[in-house]
């Protein structure tokens, strides 16, 4: 980096824009995670289905979704849908859906792992008192599985948060986009991306901290049914 003149003032001057970017990053990762939870739970149930073809289909979808790079997924959803099917999504929508699909593939495994870790006897005891299959799941199995699912779900979320940096390629004005845009004009990429890095590290640490508190709470008391 010979001859490179650091100019940290640019960072300070662009804090409002960076903050805007941060909010977009948070928003898109949260919407993406919400979708990931819905997809994940759906396909986890599919993989545990009694119907062979539902099981195979769900397993196939999960494996497929896991093997597509987020980058490619993003282009398919944003440009592909538009070109092939005239479905025009905003960059934000496309980004959130892509994150939802990638995250969903991981969440499916997290849900399945958490649910399968619960002793079968729990479900049987719930059925034996006359609960329907779905109530046995929502009132007895899931509340126990949640304790396993939450910490792993947080890992998936942190992954999505990092994945969210990719959405700038289709023009979502997230932090990376802001950093790129500003450093192009001010020739300070090192400073701008470092600022983004620091923001991400603090974000990830805060999420981990929140998760720790949540986990402690889950372990202390429990669902009041």
């Amino acid at each position: 980096m010979d001859g490179y003149i650091y100019n940290w003032n640019v960072v300070w001057d662009s804090l409002p824009e960076l903050q805007q970017g941060l909010i977009i990053t948070l928003q898109i990762s949260i919407v993406g995670m919400a979708l990931a939870i819905i997809f994940g739970l759906t396909f986890a149930m599919g993989r545990m289905s009694n119907y062979g073809y539902v099981k195979k289909f769900s397993t196939g979808v999960v494996n497929f979704a896991r093997s597509i790079p987020l980058f490619v997924l993003l282009f398919w959803i944003y440009y592909g849908l538009s070109l092939k099917f005239a479905i025009n999504l905003t960059a934000f929508q496309a980004g959130a859906i892509a994150l939802g699909i990638t995250g969903g593939a991981y969440m499916a495994e997290v849900f399945r792992g958490g649910i399968e870790a619960i002793d079968l006897g729990q479900r049987e005891a719930a059925l034996a008192i006359g609960l329907s299959s779905s109530k046995a799941f929502t009132l007895v199995v899931l509340p126990q599985a949640i304790r396993i699912i939450v910490p792993q779900g947080v890992n998936v979320y942190v992954g999505l948060l990092k994945g969210a940096t990719i959405v700038s390629v289709i023009g979502v004005a997230d932090m990376i986009y802001v950093a790129q845009y500003i450093s192009l004009n001010s020739f300070t990429p090192f400073e701008m991306y470092s600022a983004v890095g620091i923001a991400f590290i603090s974000l990830t640490l805060s999420v981990a901290g929140l998760a720790y508190l949540l986990e402690r709470r889950l372990n202390r008391s429990s669902a009041n049914v």
């Binding site: 002793d119 059925l127 034996a128 008192i129 006359g130 009132l139 126990q144």
Partner: protein, 256 residues
Amino acid sequence: MSETLLKINNVTKVFGTHVVLKDIDLDIVKGEVVCIIGPSGSGKSTLLRCINFIAPPDQGEIIFEGKTWKRFHSRFNIFANRKYEGELPRLRSEIGMVFQHFNVFPHMTAVENVMLGLTKVRKEGRAKAREIAEQSLIQVGLGDKLNQYPEKLSGGQKQRVAIARALALNPKVMLFDEVTSSLDPELVSGILDEIRRLAKDGMTMVIVTHEMNFAFQVANRIVFMDEGRIVTMGTPDEIRNTTDPRARAFLSSILG
């Protein structure tokens, strides 16, 4: 004269290619206590689980209070399956079941464990449910543990919670599956006493057990199973003096 409450008709159960129950027939009369004995792996647990369709029989049927229950499964008609699944809770809520490993719900206190069926199956209001649940726990001697989580309870206390959870729903028949087998020896007799108390109150019960002295004492009828079949059955005296070689071998191995 005595009324058949539960009829197990020609029940067969297969896991993969393994025939675990073969053509089981057994009628249980109201108020009767039937003990099922037999070597490990002979299908005793599976038979109990067929009765309340936790493990639905592959062939044959269960007739409970005159209503016939048969397995149903369509490969493609999900709606028909759902309709059938939706009927089963009615059968199950009339049949209490207690398991070897207690299976109490660890995320609920003792009283919440018992309340769950009352609120969600019997549709009682919370106040009424709590009252019934507390009463039920007091009856099994847990009046001072109402708000404890299972992790704070001993094995014997957990099993009492499980018994109270079943009894609170006022079942017509109770199924016990080796409910003392995972208890420390000093806790066994307390649980057996609870079952004796139920017998005295006239509860219909099907009890899988290895506690032979208890079985001889409490049973009206003892059923000996081996390799998925009922080999012989009779009154405690008849079983004590059985001439069936397999039953004799089993009894001498367990009684010493």
